[in-house]
């Protein structure tokens, strides 16, 4: 079994052309980027607004219940509904990216909201005390303080999308999911296993990139706030910085 998987990876035919690994990897990255960006454009401003003004908290609960929608069902429904309305190859990409974006909104929204919410009240008061306006408080205090949890949410969302984009191959999306679906249909299990390994590697690499970004972007003075309070502080710093894949509080990622 391991031998045949290795053989699949080392076969030069699998590295060229439309079905080749580089092309599929690139496609998968493109879809992930599009979906996460779309989700971010909606979820981050929304999360900032809900966290900053404290209004419409029900939006966060509602977004969390969106996680309950089965990926497969949503993909089938949107593809049947939008398929006739879209010309050409976009008819496969647009429904999938939309569904992936919708499913990436909950972790992003939750992370953004939790980040802003967890900003210590003392910091907010101090900011108001020195005369900052509401907008300045948001930009100069809340967002920087909320970054760790926001980045957590972002990493969850990316993991979610990378994993779920594989299922979208069933309605015609390209990317690494093709290896899974086609491998199963053809009984070519080395192909399926190879695809699975590529997805896992991609997820790990992307998470690593975000971890590095987090280390750069988050102010060194922050340890990252968590539910439950103090705990063993020195351990918490290294834990937050290392943070392998899924995030801890407030709500870990739901994959599909």
């Amino acid at each position: 079994m391991i031998n045949s998987i290795w053989a699949w990876f080392t076969d030069p035919a699998n590295w060229v052309g439309e079905d080749g690994i580089p092309h599929r990897l690139l496609q998968h990255l493109e879809y992930t980027a599009m979906a996460v960006l779309l989700a971010a454009v909606i979820a981050i401003p929304l999360g900032l607004w809900v966290g900053h003004t404290g209004r419409a908290r029900w939006l966060v609960s509602f977004a969390n219940s969106v996680r309950a929608v089965p990926t497969l069902g949503l993909l089938f429904a949107v593809s049947l509904w939008l398929g006739p309305k879209i010309r050409g190859d976009l008819a496969f990409t647009i429904p999938s990216v939309l569904v992936l974006a919708v499913l990436a909104i909950p972790p992003l929204l939750a992370g953004t909201y939790a980040g802003i919410e967890a900003v210590p009240p003392a910091a907010r008061d101090a900011a108001r005390g020195v005369g900052m306006t509401s907008g300045q408080v948001l930009r100069q205090v809340e967002i920087p303080n909320g970054l760790p949890l926001l980045m957590s949410g972002m990493r969850s969302a990316v993991l979610q999308v990378v994993a779920t984009a594989t299922v979208a191959a069933i309605i015609g999306l390209g990317g690494l999911g093709r290896y899974l679906i086609d491998g199963i249909a053809l009984g070519d299990y080395p192909q399926t296993a190879g695809g699975a390994i590529l997805v896992a590697v991609l997820a790990v690499v992307l998470d690593g990139v975000f971890a590095l970004t987090q280390r750069r972007v988050v102010s060194p003075g922050l340890t990252g706030r968590r539910v439950g309070g103090r705990g063993k502080d020195s351990r918490s710093v290294s834990v937050e910085a290392e943070k392998p894949l899924t995030d801890a509080a407030p709500a870990p990622v739901a994959r599909g």
């Binding site: 929608v69 497969l72 199963i184 299990y189 699975a196 998470d207 539910v227 439950g228 103090r230 351990r235």
Partner: protein, 215 residues
């Protein structure tokens, strides 16, 4: 909605199947993640090791795991046990980290006070630390439950029958009533799991309820 009226028995049968195919891994996964999470919280050198491994397992696409299971377990190709084991792996991957972080977040002074009162080792874990970690763990459990219900529907693609069947047949024969019923049933099932867990949390943390009332 005439579809639902004509087929509600089938929907109920399939809902039962989704319920235990998603629920059993939740219970087993939860039980398995407690010692794992405890080990990660107790010995800080093991934290990255355990959580990186579980994190990696979480990135394996569900279809691939379903298909590889018979090879690894020696089970028959269509055995639902393949799905149960795969989902248990995902549940453990998610919960190990949550349990670890929940236990780490228990304040030091409380742990020390408990030791001073005579709680040691396992008794302290189950008597003091786990109850205090319940809110964090429950949050993870809720996400795991919802996630399991969604992933289990994918198992229909390889012939394991549950609510996902409605999605596939509804799509293949373009029966919107069936497709939408399948989606709604999955959502309701996930929300039901969620409600049970929230209820259980409330039962287990009476001190939080008292705080709320006072405030």
């Amino acid at each position: 909605m005439t579809w639902l009226a004509d087929n509600w028995e089938t929907v109920l049968t399939l809902t039962w199947r989704s319920l235990y195919l998603a629920g059993i891994p939740l219970v087993i996964g939860f039980v398995v993640s407690i010692p794992l999470g405890w080990a990660a919280s107790r010995w800080s050198w093991s934290y990255p090791a355990i959580l990186t491994t579980t994190g990696l397992l979480y990135t394996i696409p569900s279809l691939a795991l379903f298909v590889i299971m018979p090879v690894l377990l020696g089970t028959k190709i269509l055995d639902p046990v393949n799905v149960v084991v795969a989902l248990t792996i995902y549940t453990v991957a998610l919960l190990a980290r949550t349990v670890a972080d929940g236990l780490i977040a228990v304040p030091d002074d409380i742990a020390q006070a408990a030791t001073a009162m005579g709680y040691k080792g396992v008794r302290r874990l189950f008597g003091v630390e786990l109850p205090l970690a319940v809110p964090v763990i429950a949050a993870g459990l809720r996400v795991a439950a919802v996630s399991n219900v969604s992933i289990v529907s994918i198992a229909s693609l390889i012939g394991v029958s549950q609510l996902g069947d409605l999605l596939i047949d509804g799509f293949n024969r373009v029966i919107w009533g069936e497709l939408l019923t399948g989606i709604v049933a999955c959502v309701l099932l996930a929300l039901a799991f969620d409600a049970v867990i929230v209820l259980g949390t409330r039962v287990l943390t009476p001190w939080l309820r008292v705080q709320g009332a006072r405030a």
